[in-house]
């Protein structure tokens, strides 16, 4: 047994030996190459990145050759919720569904335009009230069932009027959907509605098989069933339960014929640093939400790439314009001029962002020449002097404690705004409490926030953020801003059919809103991701969705 000092070290070396034994007995430690990847993608599949031609091929994609399946491993920062497109607001589930379901049209990779998806062509009647879509011939769901116009009608009707949908408002222009034949969908509108295509590209309008869609409305329906998905997208799922990785399997019937990756395994790694470490250690091929602070250092390492993709996302501070002295426009403008946005971009986002000059994200009809609020402390001070509170005031700011960027922004604003006599009282609370604060009437004054466009048209953000009073579910992005003249202009812009006039209308709307400053505008943000060298074709599109259909994985 143990005798004296040698005995103790003997015991300790036995413990160390046991550690080594455990490590040796485990599966082989990962090296730099991902374990399951094999030879180059199957020769039979053309790894094309060209957009789908109008005449789709009807033959199912050639199966991978007889080597082991090509599996892409991804780690991301959250787990999905319910797997039905029109029932949720949860990005993680939506990003997954974007690879499983399609809509009639979809957004191009750069987020700037729309391209055909399940519909190959469409036209509008002269009065703008009837849109006729021709479905792509030969499209099948992942179980081999052919897509028909009935599937489109059932899905869309549930999105715009089902009992569980939360996206009714976005489709209220639609009066009725008709299916004259299995490959034609006719959408009848209440009034002319230019944003219709963008709304159809948006996720609530994705198409599920009619039976599966109807089943979700049954009382007591178990939403776990939705994971046995049958979409028209590049991949499908068979099941999922919390704690497991989400497994996407290649859809052999996919109309675009491209997936070179047979399976995508997406695991949940909540900690930002751990995700990056998993990428560096070779345990994952792709990771999302890479901290801004690590982008440059990752790019300097061999074997990995990191990128900040431009997406339609903004960050700002919400001001409750009914709470004095925030009801004074001079005060709101002063806060804007007193914000050194470059300093925030440098400290909080490590230089990986741009100053927000227009009040909406960089997308369709953004006011490209918007003057914004360039940092000008003197102007801020003179505005405060002319305001109702020339000697300053205390501004409570609620910050959700699960977002370090917003906490850091609040701290910097506290410092910057103190220079004009505004004392920011930062109140860190948990996210549900923060949400209750700005939803309720109470003492809500201000909170940092962010927005990502869900569709490729300004109507969504403009209606959500700028329309106040009646018909506004969000009280103008919780600012309680209510400018009836502006609301009328928004209604007119939504009805305008001529693209050039529409653009002019929205630019004018943005100028007015910018001047009224219910928000403190800070920055345009991108979405970050990183991947290993052997991964090609991974992108995040302008609306922050990632797609795997064009990804290739080399050994």
């Amino acid at each position: 047994m143990l005798t004296g000092r040698r005995g103790w070290f003997g015991l300790f070396s036995q413990v160390l030996g046991a550690m080594l034994l455990v490590s040796a007995c485990g599966p082989n430690a990962p090296t730099t190459a991902p374990p399951a990847a094999t030879t180059a993608p199957a020769a039979g599949v053309a790894a094309t990145t060209a957009p789908a031609a109008a005449a789709a091929t009807t033959a199912p994609a050639t199966a991978a050759s007889n080597t082991a399946p090509v599996v892409l491993k991804m780690a991301r920062n959250a787990e999905p919720g319910i797997f039905v497109p029109w029932l949720i607001d949860d990005n993680t589930a939506l990003f997954t569904m974007g690879n499983v379901y399609d809509g009639l049209v979809r957004v191009t990779k750069d987020g700037a335009n729309l391209e055909p998806a399940l519909a190959t062509k469409w036209d509008t009647s002269p009065d703008g009230l009837t849109w006729t879509f021709t479905l792509r011939p030969g499209v099948k769901f992942s179980d081999g069932t052919p897509l028909t116009s009935n599937d489109v009608k059932v899905s869309l009707d549930l999105a715009r009027g089902g009992t569980r949908t939360v996206w009714k408002d976005n489709y209220k222009a639609i009066k009725e959907i008709q299916t004259p034949d299995p490959s034609t969908v006719k959408i009848l509108l209440n009034q002319p509605h230019a944003p219709l295509l963008s709304e159809l590209a948006m996720f609530p309008a994705w198409v599920m098989q009619a039976d599966m869609a109807k089943a979700t409305e049954a009382p007591g329906y178990d939403d776990a069933n939705n994971w046995a998905s049958k979409g028209t997208g590049a991949y499908y799922t068979t099941s999922w339960k919390k704690g497991d990785p989400v497994i996407l399997k290649r859809n052999p019937n996919y109309w675009k014929n491209t997936p070179a990756v047979d399976e995508v395994d997406i695991e949940y790694i909540p900690d930002d640093n751990t995700r990056v470490l998993k990428l560096q250690g070779g345990e994952d091929d792709v990771v999302d939400f890479v901290p801004f602070s690590q982008l440059d250092s990752l790019n300097q390492q061999p074997g990995v790439h990191a990128m900040n993709f431009p997406i339609q996302q903004t960050t700002f501070v919400i001001l409750n314009v009914t709470k004095p002295p925030l009801d004074d426009k001079n005060v709101r403008q002063a806060l804007n001029y007193a914000t050194d946005k470059d300093a925030i971009i440098k400290s909080v986002f490590f230089g990986q962002a741009q100053v927000m000059n227009a009040p909406i994200p960089m997308g369709t009809y953004v006011d490209k020449n918007s003057p914004g609020y360039p940092y000008n402390l003197d102007k801020a001070k003179s505005l405060m002097a002319a305001s109702s509170v020339p000697s300053g005031f205390t501004l409570p700011m609620v910050v959700a404690n699960n977002n370090q960027d917003r906490i850091n922004t609040a701290i910097i604003l506290k410092d910057e705004w103190s220079k004009i006599g505004v004392n920011v009282d930062v109140q860190q609370v948990d996210s549900a409490t923060a949400r209750a604060a700005y939803h309720g009437e109470g003492n809500f004054n201000s909170t940092p926030s962010a927005w990502t466009n869900d569709m490729n048209d300004p109507t969504e953000i403009v209606n959500y953020a700028m329309r106040g009073g009646e018909g506004s579910g969000s009280f103008a992005y919780w600012t309680r801003y209510n400018n009836p003249e502006l609301s009328a202009k928004i209604t007119a812009a939504d009805l305008e059919q001529d693209p050039a006039k529409r653009e002019a209308d929205y630019v004018a709307i943005q100028r007015t809103y910018l001047d009224d400053a219910p928000l403190v505008f800070i920055a345009n943000l991108g979405a970050t991701a990183a991947w290993r060298d052997n991964v090609k074709g991974f992108t995040i599109d302008g609306l922050s969705y990632y797609r795997f259909e064009d990804v290739t994985l080399n050994k």
């Binding site: 004296g4 485990g26 430690a29 919720g81 939360v166 776990a224 640093n273 470490l277």
Partner: protein, 313 residues
């Protein structure tokens, strides 16, 4: 006989304690500001959407009614349905209990090994350089934030040495042991830091007892004095702390679970609190309370093995 009666009484007491726990946790979590329906539906939801979801999820019923539904379900072994995941809570929670217990046991085994080895070593070399080194090293380990300590272990043992994976859980039992080694090590070392200090001072104190003096006077070798006479008596207070730490480990390992992506109860509890998923929060608390009570009962029972003079009234 007396011991059996003692155990029976303690288990009966457990029922009352659990009842109290359910009242406290139900009250606490329901009086927090924040609405689970609003969290689930996001900012786009209208007041009508939220009201509809309240109806669906049974959140518009009165507090006593909701409490009664929870407790009556619990008694039948049904923990309700998760608001966020729409899955039976039984599935969610009970599938994680073995993971959390496994990690806790693993961490405690490592902690026990380190404690016995280094605690005795330090006590036996009291004042010497070995004692100093051990105390300083473990003080550093104790004061290092567990988050940073975990990442340090990953950088060293996963990225640099490739001995262990970075994070995750694995699918087979050998894989579980392999994946959980680093998180268990991170937890175990920090727990051992406290236990080592306790054991060391406990041993030093016990070494001064009369019977130890007698043993030395009889000429027994040092290791026999330590192992047969001193250790069992010195362990009493250490074992108490050991038991308390185990209780904390069941649901208090959020940071380590997050860093190492271990799907345990700590992480589930944290995300459920954040999303106000009442059934899950309540159920995890009850499950954790049961485990804490059982472990502390085992600790109390172990006293009579360590010290035969301890009896049960």
């Amino acid at each position: 006989m007396r011991r059996a009666a003692y155990v029976r009484n303690r288990l009966l007491l457990m029922v009352f304690v659990l009842f109290g726990v359910t009242i406290v946790i139900f009250g606490m979590v329901h009086f927090l500001p924040g609405d689970p329906a609003a969290v689930l539906l996001g900012d786009r939801a209208t007041a009508q959407n939220i009201a509809d979801l309240h109806e669906q999820l049974g959140l518009n019923r009165s507090m006593p009614e909701q409490y009664w539904m929870f407790v009556s379900g619990l008694v039948q072994g049904q923990m309700g349905t998760s608001l966020a995941f729409r899955q039976p809570v039984n599935q969610l929670v009970l599938s994680r209990v073995p993971i959390s217990i496994g990690l806790a046991v693993y961490a405690m085994v490592l902690a026990a090994i380190f404690t016995l080895v280094f605690g005795l070593l330090a006590a036996a070399n009291k004042g010497g350089w070995i004692d100093q080194v051990i105390r300083v090293v473990f003080l550093l380990i104790l004061t290092t934030p567990s988050f940073w300590f975990g990442i340090l272990l990953i950088l060293t043992f996963s990225l640099a040495l490739h001995w262990f994976p970075v994070a995750g859980f694995g699918t087979t039992l050998p894989e579980h042991l392999w994946y959980l080694f680093l998180p268990a090590l991170a937890l175990g070392l920090q727990l051992a830091a406290v236990l080592i200090r306790n054991l060391r001072s406990s041993v030093i104190l016990t070494m001064r007892s009369d019977y130890v003096r007698t043993a030395h006077a009889k000429g027994l070798p040092e290791r026999m004095v330590l192992m047969k006479h001193v250790l069992r008596n010195a362990l009493m207070s250490t074992v108490t702390i050991f038991g308390l730490q185990f209780g904390y480990l069941i649901a208090g390992t959020l940071v380590i679970e997050t860093v190492f992506a271990v799907p345990g109860l700590g992480q589930l509890l944290f995300t459920s609190i954040t999303s106000r998923d009442y059934p899950v929060v309540q159920s995890i608390t009850v499950v954790a309370a049961v485990m804490v009570i059982v472990v502390n009962l085992l600790v109390d029972l172990s006293y009579s093995f360590l010290d035969p003079r301890v009896t049960y009234e």
